[in-house]
């Protein structure tokens, strides 16, 4: 038996949160990073597209703003840095830089917010082949650290209000965009998600 699901689950942060183990993974994630607390979200979704394509779409960080609801935009900078603009309550925005900390083409991506971010955060996305002909399993693990400053606290509230809800909705939008080229909505154009109507790129 090579790589049975439960072993895979043990090796990955994400399914731990789905009670594969009764560990306090958020606490462990905080300790690992030297933070005094952390919120951790993990969720897996299957995308009916080839693994390289799914990886490449996520690797182009400009795409993130199309399906991650709280993100206004992500602009790639030089080499491994990218500039993230986050929506804040009251029409404000918060900005920080993130650094790509891991890039295994077709397999995994990870980033970490650079020094000085209002909310420390790290994310890791894993890409695995599903059963033959069934696309790519994508596991997202996102860790938010304690916020800095009042605005940071406000943003953290927004992000952490229901981090699991946010993650599963964001991943559903990611899947819709890759599989159908659109983001499903029953809203009128003014209230519809942004990703749907944009050209890919």
């Amino acid at each position: 038996m090579s790589d049975p699901p439960i072993n895979r689950a043990e090796e990955s942060d994400a399914p731990d949160t789905a009670a594969v183990h009764q560990r306090d993974v958020a606490k462990e994630a905080a300790e690992e990073r030297g933070w005094h607390e952390a919120a951790l979200v993990g969720r897996t979704i299957t995308v009916n597209r080839p693994r390289q394509e799914v990886y490449a779409f996520w690797r182009d960080f400009r795409n993130l703003g199309r399906f991650l609801e709280n993100i206004e935009s992500v602009t790639p900078g030089d080499d491994r840095r990218s500039h993230w603009v986050i929506k804040a309550p009251g029409g404000r925005t918060v900005e920080w830089d993130s650094v790509l900390t891991e890039d295994m083409p077709g397999e995994a991506l990870a980033w970490e917010s650079a020094e000085g971010a209002d909310i420390k955060n790290t994310g890791r996305i894993e890409f695995r082949d599903g059963p033959p002909g069934r696309g790519t399993e994508v596991t997202a693990t996102i860790v938010y650290g304690p916020p800095a400053g009042d605005l940071g606290k406000l943003i953290a509230k927004l992000f952490q209000r229901e981090p699991k809800v946010q993650a599963r909705r964001d991943l559903r939008r990611f899947k819709q965009l890759l599989e159908t080229g659109e983001i499903s909505t029953s809203e009128a154009p003014a209230a519809a998600p942004r990703g749907g109507a944009q050209a890919k790129g």
Partner: protein, 395 residues
């Protein structure tokens, strides 16, 4: 535009609302020429389905003319189309397996949470059927936005009038799939509970598929007459003990396949049904699965149970022992409409399937609230109400 909107239990109204617009590339806008009230709309009318919002536009059986198509649509303005009630993306694992009613993408991300909590996985999007299925505006209106219009709508050739093809949107494929789920073999007896539109189309379909005998069960004389005219033997459950009758009719074997074409709001003055009605009233339960119990108990050993009737929540006292000990197989689903439409359209064109016998009432769309009322209150006479947006006065 004018549209039929939901406001509460037994409260639907005609209102003027914003016209729909193209949102996504694969969208199309349809000008409705005919739309119908479905039996399952009565579950909304009776407030049996949660998550409707005041002002939601109902209606999931409709057809019309394409007036606008997004760049990703394959439709062209001017084409006449029938639109499936299930919204399906055509690209996900489920759509590729032709399980369109299990499409993983058509329910918007923020709406999918509710049914994921209720059912373990999110439901597929559908028109005009609460926010559990996406909150999409329905087709009892002058216009409707159709997402993924390159997958769902089927183009109707000239010469086939609306009433011949309208029911491709839901009830004809639903009756057909219900019969298909019976896996009919030569010599089989099929029993159908409920002679509403789906039950009647299931009867018609099962006979086309070669059922030897077809037994239809209801209590409305007119509906039983319609079943008889299609070739069924009929049982009025007010006059006859159904299970005993079926036992005798089938020589003590029982029907090979049974169809529950009733669903969550069954009628009948039996103890279990009265208890269910009380529990539903005080919100201790949602569904009244009297017919589901009956079909399981009536089915022969090793037989097939097909459930096109709509259930939404929890049901009590399902005879799980009978299901297991008799070795029954159970098939159900919202209908994979897109899968069945082309074949059924062909059969309509060839005159092998007729659906027009069902229509008892034709009303202007403006009279839709009255249409709901009579469909609810006069189920014997009112078998199907078709609404016409371009009729300004009652015909």
């Amino acid at each position: 535009m004018r549209a039929l909107t939901w406001h509460g239990k037994h409260d639907v109204r005609m209102e003027t609302v914003d016209d729909p617009q193209i949102v996504n590339p694969r969208d199309a806008i349809i000008r409705i020429t005919s739309t119908a009230i479905c039996g399952s709309d009565l579950h909304l009318y009776d407030s049996y389905i949660p998550t409707l919002h005041k002002g939601d536009i109902l209606g999931h059986e409709f057809m019309g003319e394409v007036v606008e198509a997004g760049p990703g649509s394959t439709l062209k303005p001017g084409e006449r189309v029938v639109v499936p009630f299930v919204i399906a993306c055509g690209k996900c694992f489920f759509c590729e397996k032709q399980q369109f009613a299990a499409c993983d993408n058509s329910n918007p991300a923020e709406k999918a949470d509710m049914s994921e909590v209720m059912y373990g996985y999110p439901m597929t999007g559908a028109f005009g059927y609460s926010h559990l299925t996406g909150g999409y505006a329905g087709g009892q209106a002058e216009y409707v936005r159709v997402p993924y219009s390159d997958v769902g709508p089927i183009v109707i050739p000239d010469g086939l009038e609306d009433e011949k093809v309208l029911f491709l949107s839901d009830i004809l494929p639903t009756g057909w799939m219900a019969a298909e789920n019976c896996e009919i073999e030569p010599g089989d007896t099929v029993a159908v509970w409920g002679c509403g539109p789906v039950g009647l189309f299931a009867i018609q379909s099962a006979l086309i598929m070669g059922a030897h005998r077809l037994i239809a069960i209801d209590h409305y004389p007119h509906r039983l007459e319609l079943a008889k005219s299609l070739g069924a033997e009929v049982i009025n459950f007010h006059d006859v003990k159904v299970r005993e009758a079926l036992f005798e009719i089938t020589g003590g074997i029982g029907p090979d396949a049974v169809i529950d074409a009733v669903g969550m709001e069954s009628h009948g003055f039996t103890i279990d049904n009265i208890l269910d009605a009380v529990k539903a009233t005080v919100k201790l339960g949602t569904d009244r699965p009297h017919v589901l119990r009956e079909v399981i108990l009536a089915c022969r050993k090793g037989g097939r149970v097909s459930v096109p009737g709509v259930y939404g929540g929890m049901g009590d006292k399902i005879p799980i022992g009978a299901l297991m000990e008799k070795g029954l197989s159970l098939k159900t689903a919202q209908t994979h409409v897109q899968k069945y439409m082309p074949h059924l359209l062909e059969m309509i064109g060839e005159g092998k399937v007729d659906t027009t016998f069902l229509i008892s009432h034709r009303l202007p769309l403006e009279d839709a609230p009255n249409g709901y009322k009579i469909f609810k209150e006069q189920q014997n006479e009112v078998t199907k109400v078709v609404l016409k947006p371009d009729w300004k006065e009652a015909a």
